[in-house]
Symmetry: D3
Subunit: 216 residues, 6 copies
């Protein structure tokens, strides 16, 4: 997978979502495929949690540098307020058309966190909208053929699983997560999950994703 | 996927199951990875359907030649009689230990066909048994880390999907299926499904699988 | 439905199961279609509940007379001991082949009562076995194309529903149920459910079924 | 079924939805019940797909003539933009009240196509709204007691199935579908599905529906 | 449970929802824990059903007296018009923050009644919003740690169940329900369900709830 | 809960299952209710994992002492070989009749571990068998009215949850788990889960259970 795809779009609801659930994957993409493009988009301003909007923005920018992404965009929707509707689907459809990724990685629709669920549901609609020709969208249509979902709700485990062995980049991931100073107590248990997932497949640490569509 | 794995075990309940649901995948494996090992096992004798047991065995042998597999084993259980229990799980666990595949490809537990479902359910147990150390099994323990399921019940569609684009080998697959002379009317609609799956991803023909676990 | 089908097989796990869940339907079948055939089979001897095996047998015979069925068979398996396996599936497959019904009506696989669930699961396998040609079955193959399931677990409501308006035969059904003297306290709440189902569709009383396959 | 109901309302999200999923059923209704009323409503203008809005409208009008429906209404909502909310539910509730059908046939809520899903979800709410007395609706309340869902997402197969044997009208259905000149490549695989469904029940061609509520 | 929690918030979509599904529980709370606080909130005005808005309000006030609740609030949203969105979630989040209950009892998200479902879905979001710090909410954040759902859709039975034995207060509950003079025919079948639930656990009458989270 | 129930039966498939999933609960039961009875039964001999059967037996006996249980029974079925069938159900039904607990705590039927799933499924049947009067069981019938399931498959999270706050006994639980010397590397990640569950409800450590039936 890591060698055959050439561009990835990661969409997170909040600052730190992409890093905590897929930071290791991004590091591995770079290691395996020097020319792969990685785009990140964060939908909300993070105002509902700990830390100020400005602090969280700066933490994300620090992380972005470390991740060496090709683009890191903030859309600044109000945190804790995303609704699943056509408007949100259009926003995500436009992102898919703008970045034209091979692979989209984002939240699952079944996530208990309401913002995550809204993004997850709207993405399903967006994938469809991005492909057809509605005049209310910008950019040219794009069929994004591979979709992975974060396991951003650890209590909503997928029956289909893609594990990414992040053992070789795990120290870097810990360093990456340490950038999010305002969120450390929230994020640490998820690093423990990386170790638990690792044990499941017999390695030091792993990230877990739900494959929605993969094409070989 | 097709380049990173080095051995595959396909387990089908009946003669022709492996070919109709995964024949294209096997051709592609050979094209992409000259050294990959492919093992096939058919559990029952096919006595419940059209054609005699002998005819069906010969058809499978013809197919096996065309597929250039490293092994093609018949276990000759009675067709239409597989029960999901520890005995069947042991049989499959022993296969996993014997062939030690990177990837196991077999029926899903949700399949409406009772033999398929029995195999699907027993496989989940077998994957576990193959890994631990029960003295009642032969061969050394093996952890098979990648599992794909056929979509052998077209009315039981998976929400997680792996499509394999078989456009380039589709003519060969049709030739392969033509070897199963006693089953042609049963098998043809499934070739039409390959074309339908192809349309879904914008290619001529595709095979569809449900990913259970994939490791990258 | 009641005019277009010409034969029905009802399979109940225990004495009184057919009557309490489908007694009204049987009365209505007779009213709408004088030539329709109705066959009933009870799998167990009823020994686990109230009343002796002999008493329960006699109650069923009384009910059978009132229902004017074409056949009422007792298989006398041990109550509370049905296991879902190929053996039970063969028993039911043979019943399907023997009676060759247009419509099969029996328990759902999702039923919480273990005997009901075993019958429900085995029936799915039996429908398949009845159709193919395994030499271990008696009678000629039969494709039973219509299948309804009792809602014999009132806590396991189907999302697909067939209501049969039994208002016109409800007094007869109450009389029928009164034949089961050893079971009256168990059966009465289910008559209340008939009234509740009736309210849902705006009539006095109704029986509820889950349609599995219906062909028009 | 086809003789006992006297009026049908078909609601499709786009031009051609009703015809491709239920065209055969409409032909059969006319054959079995000369006095049955058939009403069709198309919610969106079809602007997101191939063909202009005007072309698609004309194709539908051609089809409507062939189907001999009692009414064929276009509501002209923007294609690819339906949201599931009270507003859409009111629209459908008003249609139920206006046409007062015995049977409503429309998309399922589980459909992957976002417009289909919005219609499917809103219909559940609409059936309820049509029945109670909210002052914000037009027309008198109506309890629509029979509901069938299209299988408009072939990857979202229902466990409860109604097959309509359309063998006798299949040539007419193919002629009907040929009216949709701008959509032929999209529609053809679905005709193949009609043949696949037919094989499942041993006939030439069939349409498949998910029964939600049927009353006998 | 009834002794260890000190405050309860009941949220019903319509007048009489709280009483019919949880009236017995409220009586028992008072019997077991003299100091427990009970707050009730009714979201809509009840204008879609039988009886005028004024009549229904008065019936609820009569019931409130009998229930001896600490607060009984009417929010007067339009009946049959609740949409699941961030706005409704904010309303419920504010209620959780205002009353700061140990236990929240409300409709399940799976309820077929559209208003019930909207409340059920919005509550999941509200529980989250009540806990974080969005500036658009009033009152201080509150983590409500125990959540029970009504079984307000008797056809949507929970697999996890909390039964409350209301035998000792059942006469009072019947008296309570009799206050709702405009709704008697609607409510009576639900009292029969209380008796059916009672039989399931071997007592005279019981109320059934779905436990979402309980902490001991 | 911890004060109102007077006897508990814990059934684990393997040595250490009860301790790792419910050790904290047992300590808390003793603290809250000095007279509560606690019975433990382990079904298999533990021969499939690390450590000899003898070593694992001795570890369990050490743990039993620390837990101060009223009975700790080993049934010595072969590890990794439990099948779900009437025989296993009878075994568990006899345990329910023998110990007559208020509360039964055991594995869930949805568990991915095959032995756990067999126990989980057989328990549902056993609860029924324990209640009726089949002559093939020993002891008098018993209706066990409260049932909790372990979350012994951390990837199969229940939507209904009971958390037990074990903060006050967490040090003791760690000491308890340390008795299982042959299993330490397997067990440690589950202690981390206790801490993760604790964070979810704002305490140091918690055990998680799925409530099946609870009566108040």
């Amino acid at each position: 997978m890591l060698t055959s795809f050439s561009s990835y779009l990661f969409v997170g609801a909040h600052p730190d979502d992409i890093e905590i659930w897929a930071g290791g994957l991004i590091f591995k993409i770079h290691e395996r495929n020097k020319t792969a493009k990685v785009y990140c988009v964060v939908l909300t301003d993070g105002s509902a949690g700990q830390g100020s909007v400005q602090e969280r923005y700066e933490e994300s920018m620090e992380a972005a540098k470390m991740l060496r992404v090709d683009s890191y965009e903030f859309l600044n929707f109000k945190d804790a307020s995303l609704d699943f509707n056509v408007e949100l689907s259009k926003v995500i459809a436009n992102l898919i058309r703008k970045y034209k990724p091979d692979v989209l990685v984002t939240h699952p629709a079944s996530d208990k966190h309401p913002d995550h669920a809204a993004v997850g549901l709207a993405t399903s609609k967006a994938l469809f909208l991005a492909m057809v020709s509605p005049e209310f969208l910008d950019y040219e249509p794009h069929l994004c053929r591979n979709v992975l979902r974060f396991v951003s709700d650890p209590f909503s485990s997928p029956s289909s699983r893609v594990y990414v062995d992040i053992s070789e980049v795990y120290e870097m991931k810990k360093e990456l997560i340490a950038k999010f100073k305002t969120q450390l107590d929230v994020l640490e248990p998820y690093l423990q999950l990386n170790e638990l997932y690792g044990r499941m497949i017999g390695v030091r640490a792993a990230e877990l994703f739900e494959p929605e569509v993969l094409i070989f």
